[in-house]
C-alpha cells in the first residue's frame, strides 16, 4: 500500500497553498487565544491534529452508514467525544499546560477546521486519504500556530519554550518586553503579516475583486 503522489499532496498542500489558517481562514479564534507561549501552542496543535485524525478516520469509516439527515449531528458527536477525552487526558497528565489552555481545548469542538474537513473530505473519501488529509491540515494549522507563538513568546516575554533567550544584559540596557504581543490583537496582526508575506510570494493566492 504505497502512497501515491496524490496522497502525498493531501499532506503537503495544507502546509502552504491550502493552509487552513492563512488561506482557508479557519480556526482563527483558537490561534489568537493560545499562542502566547510556544508550549501551549504545540500542545494545542497536537490536540487538534489528534482529534482531527481520529474524527476523520471514524467519520470516513462510517461514511456509508451515517444517515444523511443527521450527519452534522453525528460528526459533532464524534468530535465532541474525542475532544472531551483529549481534555481529560491533558488534565491528568500535563496539568500546567491544560490550565493555560483552559477552555480552549473544549472549544476545539467549535474549531471550524474540524467540521470543515469532516464535511468536505472525510464524508466522501476512504479512510487512508482521510487520515492523510487530517495530518496535513493538522500540521498546516500547527505550523502557523507555532510561528505565531514563537514570535509572540520571543517578543512578548523574551522567552522561547519557557526559557529566557533575551540576555539579561539587554534588560539592563533598557530593553523591555513588548506587552502588546501578549494581548490577543497582536496574534491577529501576526497572522495577518504571515498572510501578507505568503500572498506576496504566491500571487495566485490573491483574490480577484468582483
Amino acid at each position: 500500500m504505497a502512497l501515491t503522489s496524490k496522497d502525498l499532496k493531501l499532506v503537503t498542500n495544507p502546509l502552504n497553498m491550502e493552509n487552513p489558517i492563512t488561506v482557508q481562514v479557519l480556526g482563527i479564534c483558537s490561534a489568537l487565544a493560545i499562542t502566547v507561549q510556544m508550549k501551549s501552542a504545540v500542545v494545542m496543535a497536537l490536540s487538534v491534529t489528534v482529534v482531527l485524525i481520529f474524527s476523520n478516520l471514524i467519520t470516513s469509516l462510517l461514511r456509508n452508514t451515517i444517515p444523511n439527515r443527521i450527519r452534522i449531528i453525528v460528526q459533532l458527536t464524534i468530535v465532541a467525544a474525542l475532544v472531551i477525552i483529549v481534555d481529560q487526558i491533558l488534565k491528568a497528565y500535563v496539568y500546567d499546560v491544560s490550565k493555560q489552555l483552559s477552555v480552549f481545548v473544549g472549544l476545539i469542538i467549535t474549531n471550524c477546521i474540524l467540521m470543515g474537513r469532516l464535511e468536505a473530505f472525510a464524508m466522501g473519501n476512504k479512510p487512508l486519504p482521510s487520515v492523510l488529509d487530517a495530518i496535513g491540515n493538522g500540521a498546516g494549522y500547527g505550523v502557523i500556530l507555532i510561528i505565531v507563538a514563537f514570535l509572540r513568546e520571543l517578543l512578548g516575554s523574551g522567552k522561547i519554550w519557557g526559557y529566557q533567550v533575551v540576555p539579561d544584559a539587554f534588560y539592563e540596557m533598557g530593553y523591555v518586553n513588548n506587552g502588546l504581543m501578549i494581548l490577543p490583537p497582536m496574534a491577529l496582526i501576526t497572522v495577518g503579516t504571515i498572510i501578507w508575506v505568503q500572498r506576496s510570494r504566491y500571487k495566485q493566492l490573491i483574490e480577484q475583486n468582483g
Binding site: 523591555v176 513588548n178 502588546l180 496582526i189
Partner: protein, 398 residues
C-alpha cells in the same frame, strides 16, 4: 537655489524611465517636490491645480504645531529643574528641554522615513508626504522620559500596520500618530503610565527633591477628585490659568492649551483644519463633563467632580481637538458626519477618562475608536441624503 535646481536637473535623466537609477525615482521625486513646486500637468479632464499640494498643506500643519512644540520644550526643562530643586534661567530650561526633545523627534522621523522610503521603493510609488505631520505629532504626544528605541519601534509599527497595509497615505483608517501612541501605551505600559515618566529625570530618580510627586493633574483628579487643589510636584496648587497656559506635567506638546489654540488659528485661517470637527469635539467633551458633574452625587467616583471646563485644558484634550481628531484622512468626510464624529469623539474621551479606572486619559482611545466608525457615519449620512432626495423627487413627480 540655483545650485539646487542644477543638481536636480543633472540627476533627473538618471532616474527617468530608462535611466540607470530608475528604481530610485520615488526617492528623487520626494526631494524634488520638497524644494520645488511640481511641474506636472494634468492631461485628462478638467482639474484645478494650485500651489497648495498635500506636501505644502502638511508643512503648514507642522508649522501650526511649532508653538506647542516650543512651549513643550521649555516646559520639559521647567519641570526638570522644579523636580531637582535647581534655580534655572529661561535658557537653561529651554536647553534642557531641547536636549531631551530633539532626539525623540529625530527617532520618530528616522523610523518614519525609513518605512516610507522602503515601502515607496518596493511598491514603486511616490514617497508619501503624510509622514511630515505624523513624524512631528508622535514626539508631541509621548512622555518626555520615553526611551528612544520605543519611539522608533512604535512609529515604524504604526506606519507599517496603521498606514502602509491599507495602501499608504490617504488610505489609512486610523490616525498613524495615535496608532503609534496606542502601540506604546499597550506594549510598554510601565514606560507610558504612572507618576514617574512625565518629568525628565524623575524615573531615574537622581537628585530629586524629597517628596516630589510627578503625578499629572488627571492622575490627581482620578485619585482624589476635584477639591480645588490640583497641585504641582511640590504641593503648590495650580490655578485654572496655570493649566490653560500649560505649566503642568504631561506629554511633551499637549499641556499648553494656549499654544495649541494658536496652532488652531493657523489651521483655520489657512483652511486646512476643519472648524466643525474641532467645535463639535469640544462640545462633546463639555457635554459629557457636565453630565458627569451632574451625576457626581450618585457615585463614589471622585473623578466625576472635576468641573467640565477643566477637562478641556487638562491632558491631551486640546491637542486632540486641534491636531488629532481633525486629521482629514481618518475623520468623517460628510458635513453632517463631521458634527457627529467630532461630538462623539469628545463625548467618549471624557467618558473613558472618568469612568474607566484603568486609563486616566481617554482622548487617544476615543479618537481611534471614532476613526473606525467614521466610514460608517459617512455611509449613513449619505444614505440619509439619498433617501430624502428620492422622497422629494418622487413627491414632485406625482
Amino acid at each position: 537655489m540655483k545650485a539646487l535646481r542644477n543638481l536636480f536637473d543633472n540627476l533627473k535623466p538618471h532616474v527617468e524611465k530608462d535611466g540607470k537609477f530608475h528604481y530610485l525615482h520615488s526617492t528623487f521625486d520626494a526631494f524634488h517636490t520638497l524644494f520645488f513646486v511640481p511641474n506636472r500637468v494634468t492631461k485628462v479632464g478638467a482639474h484645478i491645480r494650485d500651489y497648495i499640494d498635500s506636501k505644502r498643506s502638511m508643512a503648514l500643519v507642522v508649522l501650526a504645531m511649532m508653538p506647542a512644540l516650543f512651549f513643550g520644550i521649555w516646559n520639559v526643562g521647567y519641570h526638570h529643574y522644579l523636580a531637582t530643586g535647581v534655580e534655572a534661567t529661561f535658557m537653561m530650561m529651554f536647553l534642557h528641554g531641547l536636549i531631551k526633545v530633539v532626539p525623540i523627534i529625530a527617532a520618530s522621523y528616522t523610523a518614519g522615513l525609513a518605512v516610507e522610503f522602503t515601502m515607496a521603493q518596493i511598491r514603486g510609488h511616490e514617497v508619501n508626504e503624510g509622514f511630515l505631520v505624523s513624524g512631528m505629532l508622535v514626539p508631541l504626544i509621548v512622555p518626555v522620559d520615553v526611551p528612544l528605541w520605543m519611539v522608533f519601534v512604535a512609529t515604524a509599527f504604526a506606519l507599517l500596520f496603521g498606514k502602509e497595509v491599507f495602501g499608504g497615505t490617504g488610505m489609512n483608517i486610523l490616525n498613524p500618530a495615535l496608532t503609534a501612541r496606542a502601540f506604546l501605551f499597550f506594549a510598554y505600559p510601565a514606560q507610558m503610565s504612572g507618576d514617574f515618566i512625565w518629568i525628565s529625570g524623575l524615573s531615574a530618580g537622581e537628585g530629586i527633591v524629597d517628596g516630589f510627586s510627578g503625578a499629572t493633574c488627571l492622575a490627581q483628579a482620578a485619585a482624589e477628585g476635584f477639591t480645588g487643589t490640583l497641585h504641582n510636584g511640590l504641593g503648590q496648587a495650580y490655578t485654572f490659568w496655570d493649566m490653560f497656559l500649560g505649566v503642568i506635567p504631561g506629554s511633551i506638546g499637549e499641556t499648553s492649551t494656549l499654544m495649541i489654540m494658536i496652532g488652531a488659528v493657523v489651521l483655520l485661517v489657512t483652511g486646512i483644519g476643519n472648524w466643525k470637527i474641532m467645535l463639535s469635539f469640544v462640545l462633546g467633551g463639555l457635554a459629557m463633563g457636565l453630565l458627569l458633574n451632574g451625576l457626581a452625587g450618585y457615585s463614589d467616583n471622585a473623578y466625576m467632580t472635576l468641573p467640565a471646563h477643566y477637562h478641556l485644558v487638562l491632558g491631551g484634550f486640546a491637542f486632540g481637538a486641534v491636531f488629532m481628531v481633525t486629521d482629514p484622512v481618518s475623520a468623517a468626510q460628510t458635513d453632517k458626519g463631521k458634527w457627529i464624529y467630532g461630538f462623539l469623539a469628545g463625548f467618549f474621551s471624557i467618558m473613558i477618562r472618568v469612568l474607566n479606572p484603568a486609563y486616566p486619559e481617554g482622548v487617544m482611545l476615543s479618537i481611534l475608536l471614532m476613526n473606525v466608525f467614521a466610514p460608517l457615519i459617512d455611509h449613513y449620512v449619505i444614505q440619509g441624503h439619498i433617501k430624502r432626495r428620492l422622497a422629494r423627487a418622487t413627491a414632485s413627480a406625482k
